[in-house]
Subunit: 440 residues, 2 copies
């Protein structure tokens, strides 16, 4: 069969990685796809820049619109990132009848509904495996590999930067700010790390995972998003002593009241496999009603791991070119007319267990006051750990692990506790999940 001609938008880290992988593994890839995948054209801002990837045979242009308008090109690979002009380029590629492969999680999480509707109308594919968890084929696993299941919940370490920082904070007993600097030096964190450390990147990915798991539209704006920048090494260490690890988890879960969609630091038992996913690696736990718990682990970022997912999408698109569009795998796993607009549960209504750290005056009766408040709000205590006072200090840290309680009750309890005269500082609070298969 004749080669499929593709065009690449953006030759940064992932773009160059994709060019490299397509060149190096050309034989393996065409042995699988049944035809050659040939890069006809690529766009890049700086045409003169020296690139590490092999550019022979690729026409390099500065204007990405040239690529999406090139009649020779059947598949456009969008690797520019960000909202605009990526959105406009992808929509124009679709309007021109081209299939699209993208690694852009922000774009899909924010504008996926619009993009998929346009693609549906035109009968073209939009593939986005690389948008979530880098090289881990998690989109394919959930959308196709677990298609027989009612997915009940997912919990993922889906931001490598945060996981690297949390691993270092634990291993070295270091503070967030110091580890962040180290991560920036090593290239694990960007100069402006906000998207990563504040959980926004993870929320983009979680939004996409929830849509394909539950058959709901993409609802990024309703995701609860809390990052790791306020975590202290003290809490990471106390958690460890209690047998827990602190991870930034993206959690999506069906409940009777609605879908939970939340990203936040979470204590998880250290004996869980996912608690031992360290450094910049990613992992996603998926619980299906038939399959039970499954986990998918691998590199969540980087040039070639991400390229691995981009190329897998390319092979998929090439293989499916002749399928009746109605029989292709739907963009969001469920047929477009079968999406159900389940409500997203507000975070105040979400139930979790909690880790609390209080600084209390070291005098009788303080614990009685605190536990009274918790009891009044229906919060059961799992365990309490009171530390010895440091020399010269009149307050002691008290660690409390609670059972499940609605967030709004915990908010109220913390407000009341902080008003006690014996409590000397803001209460530190981290959600805790046991990640049992039945979420008990």
């Amino acid at each position: 069969m004749k080669p499929v001609k593709i065009g690449i938008l953006g030759l940064g880290t992932v773009g160059c990685g994709t060019v490299s992988v397509l060149a190096r593994n050309a034989l393996e890839i065409s042995r699988r796809a049944g035809r050659e995948i040939r890069i006809a054209q690529a766009s890049a801002r700086d045409l003169r820049k020296k690139r590490a990837c092999p550019m022979e045979g690729i026409q390099l242009v500065q204007d990405p619109y040239e690529v999406v308008r090139n009649p020779e090109i059947e598949v456009v690979v969008e690797l520019i990132g960000g909202y605009e002009p990526a959105r406009e380029l992808v929509l124009e590629a679709i309007a021109n009848g081209k299939h699209v492969v993208t690694a852009n999680k922000a774009l899909i999480a924010m504008y996926g509904n619009e993009i998929f509707a346009a693609a549906q109308k035109k009968g073209v594919m939009v593939a986005f495996e690389a948008a979530v968890a880098g090289g881990i084929p998690i989109i394919k696993a959930v959308r196709e590999g677990l298609a027989g299941n009612r997915i009940e919940w997912m919990a993922g370490i889906i931001n490598g930067t945060c996981n690297f920082i949390l691993t270092e904070m634990r291993d070295k007993g270091a503070d967030f700010a110091d580890v962040l600097k180290e991560a920036q030096r090593l290239g694990y964190a960007e100069t402006d790390p906000t998207f990563d450390v504040e959980g926004i990147d993870a929320a983009h990915k979680l939004t996409i995972l929830a849509a394909i798991a539950f058959g709901i539209p993409l609802k990024f704006k309703q995701a609860y998003t809390e990052g790791i920048s306020k975590l202290t090494r003290l809490d990471v260490q106390y958690a460890e002593k209690l047998g827990y690890r602190v991870k930034l988890l993206g959690i999506a879960r069906r409940t009777n009241g609605g879908v939970e969609l939340r990203v936040h630091p979470t204590l998880i038992p250290e004996r869980r496999l996912i608690a031992n996913v360290d450094g910049a690696m990613n992992a996603v736990l998926v619980k299906g009603d038939a399959v039970g718990p499954t986990m998918f682990y691998g590199a969540g970022a980087g040039a070639e791991p991400t390229a691995s997912a981009v190329v897998a999408d390319l092979v998929d698109v090439v293989r499916t070119l002749t399928a009746d569009p109605n029989n292709r795998v739907p963009h969001l796993a469920f047929q477009p007319d079968a999406l159900v607009d389940l409500p997203i549960l507000p975070i105040e209504e979400v139930e979790t267990s909690y880790y609390l750290r209080l600084h209390a005056l070291d005098k009788p009766g303080v614990l009685a006051e605190v536990t009274r408040i918790l009891a009044d709000l229906g919060i059961s205590i799992e365990s309490i750990l009171q530390k010895e006072p440091q020399a010269g200090e009149d307050s002691v840290p008290v660690i409390i692990l609670t059972q499940r309680v609605k967030e709004k009750n915990m908010n109220e309890a913390i407000a009341r506790i902080e008003k006690l005269s014996s409590i000397k500082a803001k209460v530190a609070r981290i959600r805790l999940e046991h990640l049992n298969p039945d979420w008990k």
Copy 2:
């Protein structure tokens, strides 16, 4: 669109599980597949048996050939297991132009080449996700999700019975025979456990994984297969003290001399994620050149986990019905004319590290003799651990960890060591793999 009618061969554990999952998740499944999957007919040996799965609307017959000859049925699901009559039934279904979904690893590992050739000729699909690692979508992950990679190696815990037994031997310090009885009582092991505990089942699955990873024909007969029945609790405990876990691994790896295809007990460092996969769970580590190391974890057996994979295959087949057969995903991941018949490396040529346990007389010079023999055969020692003699015993256990060496050299070394007058028993030997991404 009108429903797809399917027929099921065999209503045992997995058959009944499949019926249950298709019924319970009918809505989720048709929301994904775009059409209803309807079980028109099923065959079972005993028509009167009470079954736990909902049989409404399913015509039950005793003769499986009725199902594969039923002109109404588009997809045949083979869940009988074993070589025959499964092989004949599947071939007849194919000859009748039906697509096939099967959970039968023995069948695919042994007769896959013949079956795929017949299917290729007829332009029908044969899907077998459930044949390897139960509910884990590992076939799909390797065949499609990692299609951009040159797969370098895979190492999998792909037999839940063995993993359950090894976990219990470690946790309880119990002997193989006792744990096996317990596993049989709990239903984790069959009355005749040979296929599981001797590694044959794992070798079936490994054969399939290697074919789709490397693009080679299925070569079950050339797989090296060694089970866990000769492992002692002593070695499991010594391994643990040295920081290793003993797992039955299926390993497939490309080398310059040929493909390694081997199943055997293996010491692996306890800090590896896969070393912490316990009980009846399965996990497969896959190293691709672009993606790096990835891991896929989940239930490797059981009614509904296996049904999860069967139904995923059904959804795939339904989605792909209208695709040009040449553009469908090839049975063995690579196009049939692109398979390469790489040689399988004989086990004598395979290089691994080793754990050795010797029983040596507690007298000067013994270690010197042993290490001399190892040195003469070019075997480097990683560490030696000599235990204290037990009261009243004149021999001591000596544990030696070696660096990588060819199996034939180790065979020769062990033969020479066992001839020493100071060595009182057969040398216990377990292969050891570090599972570093670059296999160093």
